[in-house]
């Protein structure tokens, strides 16, 4: 479980995250929704430590991530997988090497064991015969799948997905959603998903957090979203034709 407690972040005096507290649960698809520029991506970057918060606490289980040293944070980071909006696959490495990368860096696995794990992860994301291809040879959907395969290679406890459907056709988007949901349940991962794709939210969302101009406007289960009484949230949904 991940817990945010009163986190604040500003850039050059402009408040981007304003006193946000929220909880993200294991085995659930925890959605963070909001308009572009609302602070979703900054919040995710704060959660994984790419940006330091100005104030507040971030707990991974019982560990306070914010007040840990760089070396101590590394231990938590090894339990984190992340699927980036642009996939962030390493251009110079083949698909196989991309997925093997964290395994070679952080485990004592033999070359055969690494290859076995890589093939398992690729099979899990329904990809075959792509080991030797490079990211530039892959379609957008395939890149996302490889990104997921790399993210789950080390059996993470926490999975962060930043706009997992951006740039994908509707059919591929649903496949990626399905995959993320299955993995979340199968490995009891605390999955955090940033999106403004409402179809995705209604298909696979469990716990929803709505952010408006850096403030948490609403948090609750998917089933309660229509009766939330929050006009901004309802308007946001309406604009998305839901």
């Amino acid at each position: 479980m991940i817990q945010l407690k009163n986190i604040k972040k500003s850039f050059n005096g402009k408040i981007v995250l304003d006193d946000i507290s929220a909880s993200f649960y294991p085995g659930k698809a925890n959605f963070v929704i909001g308009a572009s520029g609302s602070g979703k991506s900054v919040m995710m970057k704060c959660m994984v430590g790419l940006i330091d918060v100005d104030q507040g606490e971030i707990f991974y289980g019982q560990d306070d991530f914010v007040n840990k040293s760089y070396e101590e944070r590394k231990l938590i980071r090894k339990e984190i997988g992340m699927l980036f909006q642009g996939t962030a696959l390493f251009d110079s490495l083949s698909v196989e090497d991309n997925i093997a990368f964290p395994l070679r860096m952080f485990t004592q696995m033999t070359a055969e064991e690494v290859l076995e794990r890589v093939n398992f992860c690729l099979k899990r994301v329904d990809l075959a015969n792509v080991n030797k291809l490079y990211p530039s040879n892959l379609s957008g959907g395939m890149k996302k799948r490889v990104g997921i395969a790399r993210a789950i290679a080390l059996n993470p406890k926490y999975l962060f997905c930043d706009e997992p459907n951006s740039g994908l056709d509707p059919l591929t988007s649903r496949l990626i959603d399905k995959l993320i949901k299955e993995i979340t349940i199968e490995y009891n991962i605390t999955t955090v998903i940033n999106t403004h794709d409402m179809k995705s939210l209604f298909d696979m969302g469990d716990n929803i957090i709505y952010i408006y101009q850096g403030k948490k406007e609403w948090e609750g289960e998917k089933s309660l979203i229509r009766s939330s009484g929050n006009n901004r949230l309802l308007e946001f949904m309406k604009a998305s034709e839901f």
């Binding site: 390493f90 251009d91 070679r104 952080f106």
Partner: protein, 247 residues
């Protein structure tokens, strides 16, 4: 003020680099790959420039020795010294500042804007240490070797142009090469080229690593890397010459 800001950030960047690598085997492999990219990849351009630098220096010095007051074999001595002391280390490194510097900066910049560096950080890897340290080490190991290679080729180039242009005979040129040779001149060139290699790789990596934005900014970082590396090479050329050769 901007200079001091950059200098401070550059110093902090360097301090963050020199940490124990996560996996030595991976680090060694990365360093070898970079050595191949920087060293082998620059062989052609260094060869071309060195031969022509030597050839041109023979012609130009030959033109100035027509008075007859200086023995003609001294042409070999002058070509040797000008190439070992200055042309081979400085011109080679200025060219490498363009080739290697822009390559490092654009590679790092692209990795930054496409979030590949963020991906490394999230995995718990010190991205600067993992990406930049092998480049610096590879540069420091291979660029001085390239400079030694450039010295040899420039002297050969000088001989070829001297003979082809009927400026000097091979025997006289070789006699000049063997006259008053100071072994320290080679050490001086190696010290300079090692320093230049560190400056080129680290400054270029610094500019690439700090890239924010998109393709336009990657191009800008690449240009900045080349300009600052070249300026640093020239300034340190003066400083090292003054320290090591000054009275």
């Amino acid at each position: 003020m901007k200079f001091f800001e950059h200098f401070g950030n550059y110093t902090l960047f360097l301090l963050g680099l020199f940490k124990r690598p996560e996996r030595f085997k991976v680090f060694a492999k990365q360093t070898l790959l970079e050595m191949s990219s920087i060293g082998v990849g620059s062989f052609g351009i260094v060869s071309l420039i060195s031969v022509f630098t030597g050839a041109v220096s023979t012609i130009q010095i030959g033109v100035q020795l027509v008075s007859g007051l200086v023995p003609d074999y001294m042409l070999g001595t002058f070509v040797r010294d000008s190439n070992i002391y200055e042309f081979s280390p400085t011109i080679t490194c200025l060219v490498l500042a363009g080739k290697v510097g822009s390559s490092i900066a654009s590679e790092m910049g692209t990795m930054k804007v496409t979030e590949q560096i963020d991906a490394l950080e999230i995995m718990g890897i010190n991205s600067a240490n993992y990406l930049v340290l092998p480049k610096i080490l590879a540069g420091v190991l291979t660029i001085p070797l390239l400079v030694v290679y450039a010295m040899v080729l420039s002297i050969i180039g000088g001989a070829i142009s001297g003979v082809m242009g009927d400026i000097i005979s091979v025997d006289a040129y070789v006699r000049g090469l063997r006259t008053d040779f100071v072994p320290f001149s080679v050490w001086f060139a190696l010290i300079k080229s090692t320093t230049f290699a560190f400056l080129i790789t680290s400054i270029s990596a610094y500019h690439g690593y700090r890239t924010e934005g998109g393709a336009l900014e990657v191009g800008r970082s690449s240009t900045m890397a080349v300009v600052y590396s070249a300026v640093a090479v020239i300034i340190f050329d003066y400083i090292l010459s003054d320290i090591l050769l000054g009275a």
